[in-house]
Symmetry: C2
Subunit: 333 residues, 2 copies
């Protein structure tokens, strides 16, 4: 295993130390327990928005802490859920008296630990609401998940709810928005290669030299199908058709689209994928109103991509355009 | 070879088509000849800033076209110089009457083709100046280069000169700034893995399962030394010491620092590298005044990183903070 690390057991802590040094104007890092929080938290009267999950998906979630997005993020070990004490401490750190929203990707361990933390916080008088993101159309009931996995829509939910909280929306309204975004979002991923969790020291699955996996999970959970390599055009068409049929998306819809790299895919290829996606959508009468192309929900150095579409209304598009200033996403700030 | 592409011969064109669809508010793409140009070019009275080079290093250069950075970029085939007709057409497209600066990485083919294009433009009455970037301390006279290679400092020069041109500086002053940035900048890179150029279909060099290469070039040109894997702390110390001794950087200096990923390195590792770098600099009395951590000058899916330091003065830091709005770099816009 060749990685730019010192000690597999300290990779998350040492990476967070670098994150803190690199972005002092945006965030700070607590190391006991471990969480990342906005430099100006808590903000009195503002709803706090928190997410978290296993590390190794950066910039999600720690790179999305900042103005117009998350108030705090709770990173677990690589591909491992954060513990309830991390989530409880982060929730307390961002509570400005207006309550806190937990945005949780649908993995069994994450849900259990966020629920325990929410109970602990409620016992201390903090109002906590939780929304589970489950946008992955590829499979039901995967390796670590009952029901559908939470993937790319998490980024879009964090962005939109973060913007809403920044505008001063009440907790119930931010929560309702988050449910609306999740209900309107669908994603699917694929992999060209596996990745290696530092503490494991070997690839998390095997793919032949000419094999790809459609519907892969962000921890390498099995997808829908292994096939021989296909041209990007066919891969994008297959993913897009599966996504569109599921909601379903319809002629006249406007969407926020994300073409996301899994970590080891050159940006050149991600733009090529986007160049296949948008014409496919236009041919169905679907307008891409906003988009992201880049690495947002990664799986360490896995090569591959995912596509996320959210059927967007005027309110979502307006929130999307609000300023955001985080290490991983920024504009108009 | 497994990549998200359709046809190895069309990967650059198809990727640019996606770039154009994704960022219509920032840039447009000419396909005959091929160049990427700001959506609002030419800007009357503003100095034009252009760069270019082989593709496969994205976001450099095409992802740096936009307000506060490049007016145009000329992408060649993967790891191949752009042709003079591309550069000539791009220069004409951005000439607003105040002249055009060519920022050229020191590779023999790039220099030759930029020089030919400059001659063609001068014959048409356009004032063109050129600055060659040669910041790589690793080796002299590499595979495609006489003298030192141009690497990470190119990003910083494009940013600072782009900001200066946006402020309305005259061509001579933007050119002088570019020379000053290059003279104050030093970089070094390393690789954990090779990468595969689509048209070649196989890795551009070989590294053993426990081998790394220090001083690698961005096209996989041989570096200083192949060694066994070392902890990140040792790798960063070795690169930093080489860089610091070369200028030399001295106690009391303020620097703009870039920790750059080669394309296939997880962001988690890049932040870990930054967490090693800053304390090393502080221990020498060198202050990191500004920094970038991420993928800026990539080599397709190569795993590895580079470090760039620029000794910065007040003027450079002020320019750095000006708004920038490009696909690959944006703030304050």
């Amino acid at each position: 295993m060749k990685k730019l690390i010192n000690d597999p057991d300290r990779v998350v802590l040492e990476s967070l130390a670098g994150l803190a040094l690199a972005h002092p104007e945006i965030l700070r890092v607590s190391f006991d327990p471990v969480y990342v929080v906005r430099a100006d938290a808590p903000r009195p009267g503002k709803v706090g928005v928190i997410s978290g999950g296993g590390s190794g998906h950066e910039p999600m979630h720690v790179g999305f802490v900042g103005r117009g997005m998350l108030d705090a993020a709770c990173p677990g070990q690589v591909f491992t859920s954060p513990t309830p004490d991390q989530i409880e401490a982060a929730t307390r750190a961002v509570d400005g008296g207006a309550g806190v929203l937990h945005i949780i990707k649908n993995y069994t361990g994450d849900i259990m630990n966020f629920e325990m933390a929410a109970e602990l916080c409620r016992a201390q008088g903090i109002t906590v609401r939780a929304v589970v993101i489950n946008d992955d159309v590829a499979v039901e009931d995967s390796l670590y998940t009952a029901g559908r996995r939470g993937v790319g829509a998490t980024v879009l939910a964090e962005r939109l709810c973060g913007a809403a909280a920044e505008r001063g929306w009440a907790l119930e309204r931010v929560e309702a928005l988050c449910r609306r975004v999740n209900a309107a979002a669908r994603s699917m991923g694929m992999a060209l290669t596996p990745c290696t969790v530092p503490a494991a020291g070997r690839p998390n699955f095997q793919l032949g030299p000419d094999e790809i996996e459609m519907g892969i999970g962000i921890h390498g959970e099995p997808g829908r199908e292994r096939t021989r390599w296909r041209p990007a055009r066919e891969i994008v068409a297959r993913m897009t058709e599966t996504i569109l049929a599921d909601l379903p998306f319809e002629r006249g819809d406007r969407v926020i689209a994300m073409v996301n790299g899994m970590g080891g895919t050159p940006l050149m290829e991600l733009y090529l994928v986007y160049g296949e996606l948008q014409p496919l959508l236009e041919a169905r009468g679907i307008t891409v109103a906003r988009r992201l192309v880049g690495n947002y929900v990664t799986s360490l150095e896995m090569a591959g991509c995912s596509i996320t579409l959210v059927k967007a209304d005027d309110e979502m598009l307006s929130l999307w355009d609000d300023p955001v200033l985080t290490p991983g996403l920024r504009w108009g700030a």
